[in-house]
């Protein structure tokens, strides 16, 4: 059980600010250690499995993601089609494998981009009071929109598509990481050794790079895992509302949507994609939990 699991509001309500001072090497190891054992290991295995499936998808998939197979209309799982076929005669297993890739892009591209942008903005603005106030209000503003409202609004500008999902996720992560880094900056700046280094002439960049960033790495790592699992949800929700990938291309969210629509006629349909989503989210959650735990230990 950890403190860092309020999934949707990733800023942990209890101060998780960094322990001041330089990171001791053994603490880095403890994070890695957490990922090699117990819950963390399970999480890593789950995520790695999904990633491998997604990366190797095109090699493993028996059919193309949009290939319509003559006569194979909504077949149940069987030898030819392990997960069955959909109402447009497409192989669900192949679609799931390709669908994972969309989520991988969202998880491993959009989230890091948003995180990097947030960290950068947070670092830069929090040093001076004026920019800090402005940035904080801007972050507040972005956080004030529920994710899906932001999604609907951005879709009005950009049209539905993977890119839109990515932009929404970047926009969501910037304030989250911005605020997290800001907390670190404010804490570290009060530290005697930082004040000392400033006295001997260290500029803001040096302090940010040498003291603040290393100190924020741990909470950032935990947050990254949490944000990634949120991103999987957002992709699913947006595809579910018709704001995500455009048909006929599959994503896990759109596959679940189709499967659930046909749950009466084809109860097997949603099982595969749903299992992948749950595995991915679960894996990321377990990783974030074990990291957070190791950090506090």
């Amino acid at each position: 059980m950890t403190l860092d699991v309020s999934l949707e509001e990733p800023l942990s309500p209890v101060p998780v600010g960094p322990v001041p001072g330089d990171l001791a090497p053994e603490r880095r190891d403890s994070l890695l250690h957490a990922l090699r054992h117990g819950r963390g290991l399970v999480g890593v295995v789950l995520v790695a499995t999904v990633v491998v499936l997604g990366v190797l998808g095109p090699l493993v998939a028996p059919y193309g993601p949009t290939e319509q197979i003559k006569g194979a209309n909504l077949l149940g799982p069987g030898a030819g089609h392990w997960l069955g076929t959909d109402e447009l005669n497409r192989d669900i297993l192949s679609r799931t494998l390709y669908g994972i890739r969309v989520d991988l892009v969202v998880v491993f591209a959009a989230v890091p981009v948003g995180a990097a942008a947030g960290v950068f903005l947070g670092l830069v603005t929090s040093w001076w009071t004026v920019t800090d106030v402005i940035a904080q209000r801007a972050f507040d503003l972005l956080l004030a929109f529920p994710a899906l409202i932001l999604g609907i609004l951005l879709t009005a500008f950009l049209g539905p598509g993977v890119l839109t999902v990515g932009v929404v996720i970047v926009a969501l992560e910037i304030p989250v990481f911005g605020r997290l880094v800001r907390t670190s900056v404010r804490t570290v700046r009060e530290m005697p050794f930082v004040e000392a280094s400033q006295v001997v002439g260290a500029g803001p960049w040096w302090v940010l790079r040498r003291h603040v960033l290393p100190n924020s790495l741990e909470p950032l790592t935990v947050q990254l895992a949490v944000s990634m699992s949120v991103a999987v949800f957002i992709e699913g929700a947006m595809s579910f509302l018709g704001l995500g990938v455009r048909p006929p291309h599959p994503s896990l969210g759109s596959l679940i949507k189709d499967g659930v629509r046909l749950l009466h006629e084809a109860p097997f349909f949603a099982v595969g994609p749903l299992a992948v989503v749950v595995a991915l989210v679960l894996g990321l959650l377990l990783i974030s939990q074990s990291l957070a735990e190791a950090r506090r230990a």
Binding site: E8, A144, F145, I149, F240
Partner: protein, 319 residues
């Protein structure tokens, strides 16, 4: 305390004011012209201009904005462009449905969290902890739309014991027992992730309390564990939990969009969707502003409650 509250209030007002300008500008940047939507594709330029003037869209931006603020202040939001009816009543109708659903989910989540986490700490059995932890993780790892649909299929279609969606025909207050049944499935779907987050947090907070010296003292005095949890630890653990509860409210409102879509629940989420696709400026800008106001107010309220419950904040003004 007063100074702390005043500064919080000031920044809340600032965010709201900035948001109102941002939203007003943003909505006008959305591609697609409401005049075209309203006038129809075959309208003459003169007819378009007439409609534009009638809507005040020919005025400069700041004049439109000030005008809008005036309307907001008077609670006279005028007619919607496209969805029909008065903006105020559209939003009021939707808001009632969304608020009832969200509050219901919040209560479910909060009560559920208190019950499960005290059970976990009081019971403190390995199997109980694993069970709760498993349930908890499942509640977080399964997407809301999937739980919502599975609930419909199980409890409304396969075993039809609860309604599949829609709002109670007689309203929420005429027949509360019927209304409760309509609320139950969407409420559960919406509450599950919030319940999970709250449970985790509260359990952890309770555990922290149980490690405090006063608990050791109490145990030494022979006071049973259960009683310590229920009387002392819970009370001390609640303040920080209230903060999480406040944060969850925003999440719930966001999740309501999905749940409303699945359960054909005519709330604000559906209104936002329809409003944006129909380019109905008056409806959308008020809704967006509303979402900002709700967020700001919950944050403010959370801070206030937190300050009120936590003497350190109350006295020193640190958060």
């Amino acid at each position: 305390m007063t100074r702390y509250l005043l500064s919080r209030l000031g920044s809340a007002l600032l965010v709201t004011a900035l948001a109102s300008i941002g939203i007003f500008a943003l909505i006008r940047l959305v591609p697609g012209d409401p005049v075209t939507v309203l006038a129809g594709p075959d309208a003459t330029p003169a007819a378009r201009d007439a409609i534009r003037a009638q809507l005040g869209l020919d005025q400069p931006f700041w004049s439109q904005y000030v005008h809008w603020l005036g309307d907001l202040a008077r609670f006279d939001l005028g007619p919607s462009y496209k969805l029909g009816g008065d903006v105020g009543s559209l939003i009021a109708d939707g808001a009632l449905n969304t608020v009832v659903l969200t509050l219901f989910a919040l209560v479910l989540a909060a009560v559920g969290a208190i019950v499960t986490s005290t059970a976990a700490v009081v019971g403190d059995r390995r199997w109980l902890n694993s069970l709760l932890s498993g349930l908890n993780t499942a509640a977080v790892a399964v997407p809301t739309f999937a739980t919502a649909l599975v609930l419909v299929l199980v409890f409304a279609v396969r075993f039809p014991v609860l309604p599949a969606g829609g709002t109670p025909p007689a309203g929420f207050f005429a027949q509360p027992d019927i209304a409760l049944q309509y609320l139950l499935l969407p409420g559960i779907a919406l509450a599950l992730p919030a319940w999970a987050a709250l449970t985790r947090f509260l359990t952890e907070a309770l555990r922290t309390q149980m490690r405090q010296p006063y608990v050791t003292t109490a145990r030494a005095l022979g006071i049973p564990r259960r009683r310590i949890v229920l009387t002392q630890a819970l009370r001390n653990a609640l303040p920080s939990t209230v903060t999480v509860l406040g944060l969850q409210l925003g999440t719930l409102l966001g999740g309501a969009i999905l749940v409303e879509a699945v359960f054909a629940w005519p709330g604000l989420g559906r209104l936002v969707e329809q409003g944006i696709s129909a380019r109905d400026y008056p409806v959308v800008q008020v809704l967006l502003l509303l979402s900002v106001v709700v967020f700001v107010v919950t944050q403010l309220a959370t801070d206030v409650i937190h300050a009120w419950l936590d003497p350190r904040v109350r006295l020193n003004g640190v958060s």
